[in-house]
């Protein structure tokens, strides 16, 4: 496969490409789904092909084929060159700024204890049906859906830089949802082994079965919970929930391609423009955002990105101030950086690499603080667990989020479950209200498996970590028809 990648690069170079890379990716996805006590789907998908990308005449060309014979690869390489020549008809006056990166000849592998594809289907199904039985055993629960997904991406990358990389990345996740049906409505509750780059040991180490009764019970309780009040409340957001708020209000706003207008027609742009770099007060002084594509379990950790840049860790927001962005080799010049942070990924061999969110985390508090102590310190608030409804404008300013489960906090104590909670805010005002962070003992990453961006749309994965955090006086309950 390496030889075939190198062959494609050589063909493109011979035809005049000033830069070329070729990626062969072999992808295997295994999906299992159950509904109550039946297995509704077992699907084992394999896909393999090559994507060839070139810069020529100051323009991009990209062609991909699932045919991995030499003739087809040569044809695709020629096609990518022809596409670039055509693209030069409306190229940027100063062409493409392509940041240098040392040549890397290396291999990368997700540390895995148990290969999920080696685990018999019967074992996985047994676990899923066992969970379902427990959930359905709770009075009032009418439905249980469960889902497992395992993915292997075996990737080869060669480029005219002299880079030659082989990476083998494995992702595992499992999730289930209980639905309680009442006379007039239905409510749900979910639990998951959040998506991680890890083997089946991640599924085994997550108490999926042990939590099943609690999850079912909370779905039933959700039916008769008090409606969300309307007004301003302090919010305690758990890592399972905050991951999505971070993703939408920080992650996308700090992708440099969006900031530069390259995504304007689809995913949108950003309020966090480069003239504000180093001065924009994104949040309160205790807000520190660190990007990190080096920790092995992060979904964006793959050794090297699809630009051939080694994965890195860097500060993006320090003491509440925007100090950096997520960058790729094409965009980093715009902020004066000589080297990309390595945030360029494609969702398949058939897709051109684009700038994607990295893994990133809200750093935990430095002083010891448990979630119980945080609740005890909150007079009038709502605690939110899990992801729910999420919507944000195309510059990432005005947002509205829901969640999966909600509890009212009164005078430092949990006062019962709420339903239909939503909160609305302006991004910088929301992060400016951050006033407490639990410490690192409670810091945990959560995965996002379906981040949509690009045109044609691509789906990417990344992890966002935090500890339980408190936000003061956020508007809740405005989501009424």
């Amino acid at each position: 496969m390496k030889n075939l990648c190198q062959f494609a690069v050589d063909v493109a170079k011979r035809l005049g490409a000033v830069y070329a890379d070729a990626r062969i990716v072999e992808i295997r996805n295994q999906y299992l789904m159950t509904e109550d006590q039946r297995v509704s789907a077992i699907h084992d998908q394999e896909s393999a092909g090559i994507g060839i990308r070139v810069i020529l005449d100051g323009a991009w060309g990209f062609a991909a084929t699932s045919r991995l014979d030499k003739d087809s690869v040569e044809k695709a390489a020629k096609q990518s060159v022809a596409i670039a020549r055509a693209g030069a008809l409306a190229k940027a006056p100063d062409g493409i700024h392509w940041a240098d990166e040392p040549a890397h000849v290396d291999t990368y592998k997700t540390p895995v204890k148990v290969d999920p594809f080696s685990v018999p289907l019967e074992d996985k199904i047994g676990l899923m049906l066992g969970i379902s039985k427990e959930v359905l055993g709770v009075k009032g629960v009418k439905k249980c859906h469960s889902f497992m997904h395992f993915r292997r991406q075996h990737r080869f990358l060669a480029s005219t830089d002299g880079t030659l990389i082989e990476a083998d990345v494995i992702t595992s996740t499992a999730r289930y949802q209980a639905t309680a049906v009442g006379e007039k409505t239905a409510k749900t509750r979910y639990y998951e082994a959040t998506a991680r780059n890890a083997g089946y040991e991640h599924i085994q180490n997550t108490p999926l079965l042990r939590e099943a009764q609690r999850v079912g019970t909370e779905a039933v309780e959700h039916l008769s919970a008090k409606a969300c009040p309307e007004g301003r409340k302090d919010l305690i957001l758990m890592p399972s929930h905050l991951a999505l708020t971070m993703h939408e209000s920080i992650g996308h706003a700090t992708e440099l391609d969006r900031v530069l207008g390259m995504e304007e027609s689809c995913a949108g742009s950003s309020f966090a423009t480069i003239d504000k770099l180093g001065t924009l007060r994104y949040g309160s002084p205790i807000m520190n955002i660190v990007c990190d594509n080096t920790y092995p379990e992060g979904l964006a950790s793959m050794g090297y990105d699809d630009d051939g840049v080694q994965c890195q860790r860097w500060d993006m927001i320090r003491n509440g101030i925007l100090v950096d962005y997520k960058t790729n080799r094409e965009t980093c010049h715009a902020i004066g950086a000589k080297r990309s942070h390595g945030s360029c990924r494609a969702d398949s061999w058939a897709s051109i690499p684009i700038m994607r969110q990295s893994n990133f985390s809200l750093e935990p508090g430095e002083k010891p603080l448990t979630p119980e102590e945080l609740i005890a310190d909150t007079r009038d608030g709502i605690l939110i667990d899990g992801m729910g409804s999420f919507s944000i404008d195309q510059k990432r300013v005005n947002f509205q989020f829901g969640g999966d489960c909600f509890w009212e906090i009164k005078d430092g104590k949990v006062a019962g479950m709420l339903k239909d909670v939503t909160y609305q805010a302006i991004t910088t005002e929301f992060w400016g209200s951050l006033d407490a962070l639990c410490d690192k003992r409670f810091w945990e990453p959560h995965g996002v498996m379906n981040c949509g961006k690009g045109d044609p749309m691509q789906s990417a994965q990344m992890s966002h970590a935090s500890a339980p955090s408190r936000f003061r006086q956020i508007r809740v309950g405005g989501a009424k028809p």
């Binding site: 039946r38 297995v39 789907a41 077992i42 699907h43 084992d44 998908q45 394999e46 896909s47 092909g49 991009w60 062609a63 991909a64 084929t65 699932s66 991995l68 096609q79 596409i83 670039a84 055509a86 693209g87 008809l89 409306a90 940027a92 018999p120 289907l121 019967e122 049906l129 009418k142 439905k143 049906v181 239905a186 530069l260 207008g261 390259m262 995504e263 304007e264 027609s265 689809c266 949108g268 058939a350 897709s351 051109i352 409804s389 919507s391 404008d393 195309q394 300013v397 005005n398 509205q400 239909d420 939503t422 609305q424 302006i426 045109d455 044609p456 405005g478 989501a479 009424k480 028809p481």
Partner: protein
């Protein structure tokens, strides 16, 4: 890949399988696009991709596998993997035997392939972008967008003799135009590239963007709105086509409403894969014919999306899921609708619509790329973008006027005028 080659691959997969029942599907083709932003081409791509899916079954035990590799060895492997998955699976009480051979007689005649579209070259697309960019530059504005074509096929076969094949092309463009302080958007979609006029689309988006400069504040609240077809397409289909099983089990907003009035009598939502304005694949993934029916007819919920299993259990007709969605349109032009509005808001499109409460069909989302105040029958000023929270069924009960149809993706939707649409907050631009 021609039809003979597709069928040969399917037959090979069916022959190699020793399962009691086998269903094989092959889909794929070529997708090419030219993307631009800030008045330059930023991405030009072409991909050719195939996927062979095989489902095997023994009694009620079933499992599926897929591959992008169409070699003899890979076909053998995908059949083996599907077979292994089926054997490992416990019996599924909802498994249905394969669709019978004579179902193909129910397939609508669909003309969705245009050879000229399939032959579009990257240079043609780049030239069209160049011309559109020149218009933007002349107007001291910037454009971003995409011009794309797809050349695809779907082929299906099963072990009881059903064979189906359908080829289609698709062409589309969309353009976002920006001035210093405001944006506009326009789009076009057809199965023929010859119908796509990127320059005209760019001109429309530039016109909206010019009007949208320096937007002004407005208090959120309940307003009469005129929603352009792209906004209707984003909003309406969410909860008007619900799964029958989930609905009967009390898990959707349409529970207990089959045969009842669910919205205004002026609303008819239907599917028809043979509609020449939006032709779509005449069969679904299992071989069932794509439905041609009303989902909502004159405000009454006539059909739910019903699987073959649920149809058998409830004695209803199996519908499967739709290939397209069409809302019956009217004759009013956008201008006539604006002229008849004393005070309201004109919405070009929505963005990031998400469900807030599925049991109430409550959605939230933002307006985007063109929002204008209407006063005394005229557009008077651009507005800063607004967030809404409103229900689909509520909105469809408050439609006062229905305009002309436009194709948006796989739907035909009209401009509609709705009273008391609920905006709940504003943003900064």
């Amino acid at each position: 890949m021609n039809a003979d080659a597709m069928m040969e691959i399917l037959e090979k997969a069916l022959r190699l399988s020793t399962a009691e029942v086998t269903v094989a599907a092959l889909r794929g083709g070529t997708n090419a696009s030219t993307r631009f932003a800030e008045n330059v081409i930023t991405q030009s791509v072409q991909k050719t991709e195939y996927q062979l899916s095989v489902e095997c079954a023994y009694g009620q035990k079933h499992g599926a596998a897929a591959t992008s590799n169409l070699s003899e060895e890979a076909i053998k492997s995908v059949v083996q993997r599907a077979d292994a998955a089926a054997k490992a699976s416990p019996p599924d009480p909802e498994y249905m035997p394969p669709v019978e051979k004579d179902e193909s007689g129910k397939y609508a005649k669909v003309e969705a392939y245009d050879a000229r579209t399939a032959q579009t070259e990257p240079r043609e697309r780049a030239q069209a972008v160049r011309k559109a960019v020149d218009r933007a530059v002349a107007g001291k504005m910037r454009i971003s967008g995409l011009l794309a074509m797809e050349d695809e096929f779907h082929a299906l076969g099963n072990s009881v003799g059903l064979r189906a094949i359908h080829s289609s092309t698709n062409a589309y463009c969309h353009v976002t135009a920006l001035g210093d302080n405001g944006s506009g958007w326009a789009h076009q979609c057809s199965h023929r590239m010859g119908d796509i006029d990127l320059q005209a689309t760019a001109e429309r988006s530039l016109g909206i963007a010019r009007l949208a400069q320096n937007p002004t504040d407005i208090e959120p609240g309940r307003y009469t709105v005129i929603l352009r077809p792209a906004a209707v397409q984003e909003f309406v289909p969410y909860y008007v086509i619900c799964d029958a099983k989930a609905t009967d089990e009390g898990r959707t907003c349409l529970r207990g409403k089959l045969g009842q009035k669910v919205c205004g009598e002026n609303i008819t939502l239907r599917s028809d894969p043979s509609d020449p304005r939006c032709p779509r694949t005449p069969f679904r993934h299992d071989g069932l014919a794509s439905p041609t029916l009303n989902w909502i007819g004159k405000g009454v919920l006539e059909n739910l999306a019903t699987s073959r299993f649920w149809a058998k259990k409830t004695g209803r007709q199996a519908t499967g899921y739709p290939a397209n969605v069409i809302m019956d349109g009217g004759s009013a032009t956008d201008e006539e609708m604006i002229a008849s509005t004393e005070r309201g808001i004109f919405v070009v499109r929505f963005w990031y619509i998400r469900t807030v409460d599925p049991m109430e069909s409550l959605l939230t989302g933002m307006t985007r790329d063109g929002l204008f105040l209407i006063e005394n029958g005229k557009i008077t000023r651009p507005l800063k973008q607004l967030r809404f929270n409103d229900t689909v069924l509520g909105v469809l009960s408050r439609v006062e006027q229905i305009g002309q149809l436009e194709r948006v993706e796989n739907m035909l939707m009209p401009t509609i005028k709705v009273r008391e649409f609920h905006f709940t907050s504003t943003t900064k631009f």
